[in-house]
Amino acid sequence: MIARRLFGSDRRILVIIAILVAVALLVPVLNLAVPQTSAFHVPPYMVALIGKYLCYALLALSLDLVWGYCGILSLGHGAFFALGGYAMGMYLMRQIGDRGVYGNPVLPDFMVFLNWKELPWFWHGFDSFWFAALMVMAVPGLLAFVFGWFAFRSRVTGVYLSIISQAMTYALLLAFFRNDMGFGGNNGLTDFKDILGFNVQADATRSALFSASALALALGVFVTWLIVTSKYGKLLIAVRDAESRTRFLGWRAENVKLFAFTVSAVMAGIAGALYVPQVGIINPGEFEPGNSIEVVVWTAVGGRGTIVGPIIGALLVNAGKSWFTGAIPELWLFALGGLFVAVTLFLPKGILGLWDQWRAGGAERAVSVAKEEGREPDETPPTIVRAQSDEWAKPARGPEPQPAE
């Protein structure tokens, strides 16, 4: 059944998964096996950079699941990303063993520096990869579950939810800055050596991490696609477009949202866990509310509610960021700010939405041309059904016909 759906309507999903799997297989080969002189050689820095972008893309995809399909604009997704990253960072710290500056076989350097005598209880177990991998998913998922359970049950919606999710990541930012928390304070966790016994710095490990990121993203696309095309996905969209109506029809809207929010947080946590070994550091800066809002703009640029759009958005915006901060750093914030404004004003459906609109417009033109020529169009043009998120556009404060519209 899945195969039928894949080969049927959603060819775009199939294409992106195929591309990601191909990239996951090809890039390590091009990086490691192809000689450096060859035109096809992928330099290691490029592997690291694109690997990082792929993690961002997974984060954007996770936001797309809640924002694009469920109408929950979370301004705290960076927190789930960072928590996943910290879980992985803790595993990597334990792997350093006695190779740290202070040579303590059990305690990470910063704990020796702070004069701690024994490992805090929450650091136990992180010396095993499988426990850490479990925590990468469990910690963000649990936080999202608890946060969402409280929030959705009391029907905190719309901007209120956005603002308290921002407060959540802000509170975590403040907490992780404290040395007493036992997560390295301001400096975070860094100076990693090994992952699963392989040197983190080695080209082969980096290529493997790149492949893992691409495959994780492909898996994320597949899972998201499964969710949104299932019966439950219809419910998700129903909650997005008319929450009260869905509730009156007998569905528990809060459970629908809670499931999406938790799954999305787990995806964000995995993205963070893959990100940390590739950049080699995790610090409280990842909790910055600004970072989480940037994720929103990636999703918005690509087109929310499209699965593929956020991936394109994350890759494009981050490539732009890398270029700007290298070439004209002082203009980057102008460009990013302008992007926020331009996307909301002129591209409400993102790049992918614009593309679809253009295609649909082309089809319509074809139909009208056909009509003028006195021919019946042979089939109804494909229309893109994407309801507006009108959660806030209720009669009491309805959208006004503004002069400019």
Partner: protein, 563 residues
């Protein structure tokens, strides 16, 4: 009017610094105090000018420190308040004599020469080159003598403030020999507040004396009634020396009593800090209460409006420093309307340029205004540089004063008054003016308001400009207590939203109550949890609170909120 009644300016540091005195000086001081009190209080001596001048002139011929000290004693022995001037000058090292004729002067160094003034009257007496003068040498023990002497000398002063200060000094350095002298002073005293202080000073002296137990119990009671830190340290110091029995028990009880009273004051001080933080939150949030609360526009660039106000203050002060230094105390008054106009104009531009296309789409508004905030921050960084810019406090905002055991700084007090003034002004505009009526009408029912002939787009634009302008004047106030940097606004945006959401959207009173309760809560959590953890706890509490009351403390009732 006699020149003798002119006193040198009161200098608290002369009286507040206390050091344990050496046995010899204690003995000397006892003699001195008895002498002085009898002279100063009984005879109200006022030696004539000529004899004072004769004593002052001896400074020129003093061979060593002992001789100088004897002259100091002699001067103080006259009991004349005007000897304070030469004594203070001596302690400061400003007393000179002319080599040619041994005439004594007070001198202030000015480059290569010294500006001279008369030692008793302070009248100017011309200038002399440094070489023509010799400084009267002074050491620490001499300075201490001068301080003690001036402290007690002033008990006979005609100025109640000086007597009060003298009583305070004697409370800090209790001396059993002074008991009788103080009793005499108490009998003569007519000003109630000074009398109370004198009685406390006497009580402190009684504790050190060998008077009967009943007197000591009364003294302990009186000191405990004073109830401040000085009283506490005095009692704690006495507790070990006290004889076993009733006196010791009374001391212990008195210490407990004073401690509990100090705890109340500490709580009051905490409330004050909380209210002070609350007024900062109120200032930051009040503009947001208009744009978010009344209009429903999520303005993430609100913090940047505050920042623009702060930078306007910086520019105004910069111009004033460069061109009209005399106007510096007026800089804030000048900056206020300018900040309102600048921030209001930027707000108007944002509303006309961006937000009006996004009404009814709050999430998009949030993103677009976040973009605007990034652009504004970077623009300010490009123009003014990324570092902090210095904004000065005008003189009337510097310093602090004490209220009971609480210390209150003037700038915090002014900011609180200002925050409340802005709040009530805004309330007046919203509730009592035609413009406010139009604003509320458009918020309540846009179509109906439009049918009544209200130009709703303009009301929107002006309301947004008003909210932004108020954020701008908040920036003027916050520039006085915070770093003026491009990131100024970011620190306030989340707190501001918390205040508005906590207080209840669309309700100005809710914002007031929300700001002050969050401020006080924050300051009460701080001692137990630390500053950062306290803030985190407050955030968590707000998140939990919103679960319970999603519409805030003072929710609007009716259909309008079911958005």
């Amino acid at each position: 009017m006699s020149l003798r009644t002119i006193h040198p300016p009161f200098r608290p540091e002369h009286f507040l610094i206390t050091r344990p005195a050496r046995p010899v000086t204690i003995l000397l001081r006892r003699i001195l105090i008895t002498l002085l009190l009898s002279l100063a209080l009984v005879a109200q001596a006022s030696a004539d000018d000529a004899s004072l001048r004769a004593i002052v002139a001896k400074f020129a011929t003093a061979k060593n420190f002992q001789a100088t000290e004897a002259i100091v004693r002699e001067l103080a022995g006259t009991g004349d308040p005007s000897v304070e001037r030469p004594l203070a000058a001596l302690a400061e090292g400003d007393l000179y004599f002319r080599k040619s004729d041994n005439a004594v002067f007070i001198g202030k160094e000015a480059g290569q020469s010294v500006r001279l003034s008369d030692p008793l009257t302070g009248e100017s007496a011309g200038e002399e080159p440094k070489g023509a003068l010799t400084k009267v040498r002074v050491n620490n023990s001499l300075r201490r003598t001068v301080r003690d002497v001036t402290g007690t000398l002033t008990l006979g002063s005609e100025d109640p403030a000086v007597r009060l200060a003298a009583a305070e000094t004697m409370f800090g350095n209790p001396d059993p020999e002074a008991v009788d002298g103080l009793a005499a002073a108490i009998a003569k005293e007519t000003v109630a507040s000074v009398k109370a202080k004198l009685e406390q000073a006497r009580a402190a002296a009684v504790l050190r004396s060998d008077l009967p137990e009943a007197d000591k119990l009364a003294a302990i009671e009186r000191i405990a009634a004073r109830g401040d830190r000085a009283a506490l340290s005095l009692l704690i110091g006495y507790e070990n020396a006290a004889p076993e029995g009733a006196v010791k028990d009374a001391t212990t009880a008195a210490i407990a009593d004073v401690n509990s009273r100090l705890a109340v004051w500490a709580a009051a001080q905490n409330v004050w800090y909380g209210l002070s933080l609350g007024s900062v939150l109120l200032l930051a949030a009040i503009g947001l209460a208009i744009t978010f609360g009344v209009m429903g526009v999520i303005n993430m660039a609100h913090g940047e409006m505050v920042m623009i106000g702060a930078y306007t203050t910086f520019v105004v002060q910069d111009l004033i420093r460069g061109s009209f230094p005399g106007l510096f105390d007026w800089s804030l008054a000048i900056a206020l309307p300018l900040a309102f106009l600048v921030a209001g104009a930027v707000g108007l531009a944002i509303e006309r340029g961006i937000i009006r296309f996004l009404y009814g789409r709050p999430l998009e508004t949030l993103l677009a205004t976040w973009g605007v905030s990034l652009i504004l921050q970077q623009a300010v960084r490009t123009i003014f540089g990324p570092t902090n810019r210095e904004v000065g406090n005008p003189s009337w905002m510097s310093g602090a004063f004490n209220l009971g055991e609480m210390s209150i700084t003037w700038n915090r007090l002014w900011i609180m008054a200002f925050a409340l003034a802005v709040f009530f002004l805004l309330l007046f505009v919203m509730k009592r003016t035609a413009w406010g009526l139009q604003m509320r009408a458009v918020t309540a029912n846009r179509r109906m308001a439009a049918s009544m002939g209200i130009r709703t787009p303009w009301v929107d634009a002006l309301t947004f400009a008003l909210g932004s302008g108020i954020a701008g004047i908040a920036g003027v106030a916050l520039s006085q207590i915070d770093n003026v940097s491009p990131n100024l606004g970011q620190g306030y945006i989340i707190d501001s939203f918390m205040v508005v959401v906590f207080g209840g959207v669309g309700n100005l009173w809710g914002t007031l109550v929300g700001a002050f309760s969050l401020g006080v809560l924050n300051k009460f959590l701080e001692p137990y949890a630390g500053a950062v953890l306290g803030k985190i706890l407050v955030l968590v509490l707000i998140i939990l609170f919103i679960q319970k009351r999603p519409r805030g403390l003072f929710a609007l009732k009716g259909r309008a909120v079911e958005a």
